[in-house]
Amino acid sequence: MPDFQGFENQLLAGTWMTLRLAFATLPLGIALGLMGAAARLSRLKVLRGLGTAYVEVFRGLPELLVVLTIYFGASVVLMGLAKRLFDYDGYIELSPFIAGTLALALTFGAYATEVFRGAFQAIPKGQAEAALALGMSRGQVFRRVTLPQTWRLALPGLGNLFLIMMKDTALVSVIGLEELMRKTQFAVGQTKEPFTFYLSAALIYLTLTVVAMALLHLMERRANRGLLPRRAG
């Protein structure tokens, strides 16, 4: 056990912040991904264009830049808007947590868009046809046949994205959010022992990864219930 020189609580607090960020980002990112996929598969050309632009921009920009731009840009833009529209001159805060979550979710959503799109398209067309042939409406087909299966098909891809995003939370330390990486840097600053603390951070991330992977495995098993061939015997 290395000597953390009193910083163990700080590391724990950082881990907690990392987890909070990851789990705050997840629902937002999934929602963005679903909307993005719906846009990209839409029959309206405008929506398709928007969806494609969203995916290409947020997959192409480094996360670090997205984080910084949102953090510094959003307040300026929001305040400018507020002044122009409502003549409001006060301070509109986009807290680092919200900015960080937003930035991570935008990136996550861009990748998730592609995962969902792939999943939608992977569902055999015949299944929708079978539902249509019974007289179901498009909405019913989506709700009853397509969507429930999308989840199952998208899960592995989403799991990967989640693991990547959990590590990307390290990037929001640049806007002062005290997640694990930032706390580690504080500790390094005080103790001047980079190796001990960076390695500890690495091990904490690995632990989180293992736990996330195990959860994911359980979820996939559940989602595939009834779809795997029966065990012999």
């Binding site: 020189q5 700080q10 509109i92 640049v174 806007i175 002062g176 005080q190 001047k192």
Partner: protein, 226 residues
């Protein structure tokens, strides 16, 4: 509303974070004294150094108390109070290393400085042709000096002083005379916020006069830095 004060948290002994996650240091003590003097509630916001002025402009806080030098360039963007301490810039390097602090003498050497500081600016202007490495935090610069990647660091004399006195800095020493004597450290506020600036000025004056300042000074340095 409480007064929100932006600071960095990675600049010992002026501002840093202890193992309980609290901000400590000279800047923080001064800030608390000023708030007490002005009878306002204060909160601190930690912010990376190279985003600290954009953060002020984006109204993420109202004043920067983070050992920021008053420079002409910054004054184009923000307003400063009177100084609350005076600093000098001075090089440090490994004990025994033979360094001549001129552009010619440093040719072929590598010097480190924190990005977006007076030190960085001074080095860029006065050490043409010398390899200057810019760090996100002063701490990382020290780590690289220890590692031997840097031949010298230019930084605030007082910060260097504190580091040289630490265990890590035992093998290093000041090099040459201070290169810049009149580095005045002030509190930055947004342009046009004259009321806040005047209040802060009055408070600085008050704590200097009533001895609070001297007491804080004493905790960190055995000599006056005002």
């Amino acid at each position: 509303d409480p007064l929100r004060i932006g600071t960095e948290g990675a600049y010992p002994p002026f501002n840093e974070v202890n193992e309980n996650g609290e901000l400590i240091g000279f800047d923080i003590d001064i800030a608390k004294a000023l708030c007490a003097e002005m009878a306002v509630e204060c909160t601190f916001v930690k912010q990376d150094w190279d985003g600290i002025i954009p953060g002020l402009l984006a109204k993420k806080y109202d004043a920067i108390i983070a050992s920021m030098s008053i420079t002409e360039e910054r004054e184009k963007t923000v307003d400063f109070t009177e100084r609350y301490y005076t600093n000098k810039l001075q090089f440090i390097g490994p004990k025994g290393a033979d360094l001549t602090i001129t552009a010619e003498g440093m040719a072929g050497k590598t010097i480190g400085a924190q990005r977006a500081t007076v030190s960085a600016k001074w080095a860029e202007e006065n050490m043409p042709g010398v390899d200057i490495k810019l760090y996100d935090t002063q701490e990382n610069a020290y780590l690289d000096l220890e590692a031997g990647r840097l031949d010298a660091i230019i930084a605030d004399q007082l910060v260097n002083y504190e580091w040289l006195n630490s265990e890590a800095g035992a093998d290093f020493e000041f090099k040459g005379e201070p290169v810049f004597e009149n580095d005045l450290i002030g509190i930055a506020v947004r342009e046009g916020e004259d009321e806040l600036r005047e209040n802060l000025n009055a408070a600085i004056k008050a704590i200097v006069e009533d001895g609070t300042y001297a007491e804080i000074n004493q905790r960190y340095f055995p000599f006056s830095i005002y």
